[in-house]
Amino acid sequence: MTDTVRNAPATGTGPGRKSGEGGARRVSFAMVLAALGILLLVSATAGMAIGSVHVPPGEVWRIVTHALGADWSAPVPSRAHETIVLKVRAPRVALGAVTGAGLAVVGTAMQALVRNPLAEPYLLGVSSGASLGAVVVIVFGVSLLGPVSLSAAAFAGALLTLLLVYTTARAGGRITSARLVLSGVAVASVLTAVMDLLLLTTGRGNEARAVLAWTLGGLGGVQWGTLWLPGAALLLGTVVLVVQARSLNLLLAGEEAATTMGLDVARFRARMFVLLSLVTGVLVAAAGPIGFVGLILPHIVRLFVGGDHRRVLPTAALAGAVFLIWADVAARTVAAPMEIPVGVLTALCGGPFFLWLMRRDARRDADRGVG
């Protein structure tokens, strides 16, 4: 019987070979990143070109390069176009890219941390918690922390909600999809109700309407001056998560297995929950709760680069940025001159995707039961 062990099938990889057969099924990682990088540039250009006033892509580039101080770039013919591109569309595209990237990264990590493919900040009620935090600050006018009060309150709301949903859904060390999604939905409806109550009973009617619009998720009206905070949150979140990618991988094996491979699961999860809540809170404060980006993108990205978080996280960030830029372009144009909240559009794509994912997992479980 000793010898049979050695008779490995001839199809096996030799010990010295590098990345294995996985490479054949999957596109090279560098190619994926390069393609997405180019796609991101194209998308950003389109995001600045398309709108009620059309600015040709070539002109967009001239405006942008000129603004960045490139000497070779000719002076811009139209002042109006320059204002539209630089003051209105560019910050909006930037916020879209940052928010899309951040939500995709957060969704990826959340799926590993709660060990469930349906996890996502919006579905788990974390975005609602963040919204409520922000609304409390707006309605009661408390701003202890100056300009970052809104984000800080959103962060606190996100963290409390995440802890609540996680502890509710967890029983006997295991989280079933049903319990997770149900507790997320239940917590989200309570939080939303509290938020609506606050907004309806507050005296400031116009402000309440504006906030209500914000709770649907939208990128309009953003200015350069407020972009640094979401940008910094995205950078921090992505860097920390990429550094911790191996630990996220271990969680996919199960909590006990992860422990035996050297991960202090409880401590790691606590730290990551704080980080994810921070990123979610800041993004929600900036762009409102935008759903399903964190659900769709990680799953699509895994089809191309596999499940290793060292690959999934950077890819998901780029893909999320591209996705939300285009979603926002659609939100601005499909019903022009009216603007649809981008969160409504992502929900339109995301809802069916969620249902498909649920059915796929159910099928998989059934297969496994038989096998």
Binding site: T4, V5, A8, R17, K18, N116, A257, T260
Partner: protein, 293 residues
């Protein structure tokens, strides 16, 4: 990698008011293969979970090379101890190679990449369990037996000097059962393994510990432990035990019917407390791995 010494001392584990394991002591000398047998619910898995540092002891301790496992950093312990546990994944699919690659994690710093040496170890681990052909496959789509072999490969890729396995032969067909136990036998590591099949345990293990209701009720070489009396006592079955002419290991044959007084010797089952056992009072049986080939 030199083998590691494991000592479980006076271990008690509780879940609420219920005792999972009560005052269990056990030793595994470097390089030994120690089998843990006993009926379902006898505390085998709980004992193993305490050894691989998931279940915190209420009293007693687990010592790995003399150091209390719970006082070691998780990552440092993981460079010594690997485990094959019974647990399901997260519903996010990975390839077999990605799963086995996880085993390299405790040897990596935060931003270390995968080296050629890692790739070699991963490939060798897969080949050792006859799973090299599965490397590019989706882990979720494997059969139960294939999955079990891949998890063993992951533990091997961890290069442990102490390997803990909870029923590793579950779901395996007989050939792969023999293969897997043969691998454990040849590893330079110390092995603690819970097994259902008493004949496999008798053949592959240096010593056995028999658990019933959370307590060790017998321990020693397979020949000392596996007696008709003990089998009647622990499992409530009638059995004959003979020495197999070719392997030299005890061979248990179960017989239908309730155990009768006739097969019950009057002597109590042997139980050497671990502390005395480590003195080597009885010679180990002939190396099971050697006699058959």
């Amino acid at each position: 990698m030199s083998a590691t010494e494991l000592a479980v001392e006076g271990l008690t584990l509780t879940a609420g008011a219920h005792h999972l394991v009560r005052d269990v002591s056990l030793t595994a000398r470097p390089g030994e293969v120690i089998g843990l047998v006993g009926p379902n619910g006898s505390g085998k898995s709980s004992l193993l979970r305490a050894v691989y540092r998931v279940l915190r002891p209420d009293t007693g301790c687990v010592r790995v090379n003399g150091a209390d496992a719970w006082s070691l950093p998780v990552r440092r312990l993981a460079r010594t101890l690997a485990a094959v546990v019974q647990e399901s994944g997260a519903g996010i699919d990975l390839t077999v190679r990605e799963v086995v690659a996880m085993g390299r994690t405790p040897h990596k710093r935060l931003l270390d990449g995968d080296t050629a040496e890692d790739a070699r170890l991963i490939g060798a681990a897969l080949e050792a369990v006859d799973a090299a052909g599965l490397a590019g496959r989706s882990f979720d789509r494997l059969s139960g037996g294939e999955r079990q072999r891949v998890l063993i490969a992951r533990a091997l890729a961890q290069q442990p000097s102490l390997l803990v396995l909870d029923e590793p032969t579950n779901h395996l067909d007989i050939r792969h059962q023999l293969d897997v136990l043969g691998i454990l036998r040849r590893l330079p590591a110390t092995v603690l393994v819970a097994l259902h099949d008493l004949n496999l345990a008798a053949y592959y293990c240096d010593r056995l510990y028999v658990l019933r209701a959370g307590e060790v009720i017998a321990s020693g070489t397979p020949a000392e432990v596996l007696t008709p009396y003990l089998l009647a006592e622990v499992y409530g079955v009638t059995a004959e035990v003979a020495v197999h002419p070719r392997t030299g290991a005890p061979q248990v044959t179960f017989l239908p019917g309730e155990p009768t007084a006739a097969i019950r010797p009057v002597a109590p089952p042997p139980h050497r407390p671990a502390q005395e056992g480590s003195g080597g009072t009885s010679p180990l049986p002939e190396e099971p791995g050697g006699s058959s080939r």
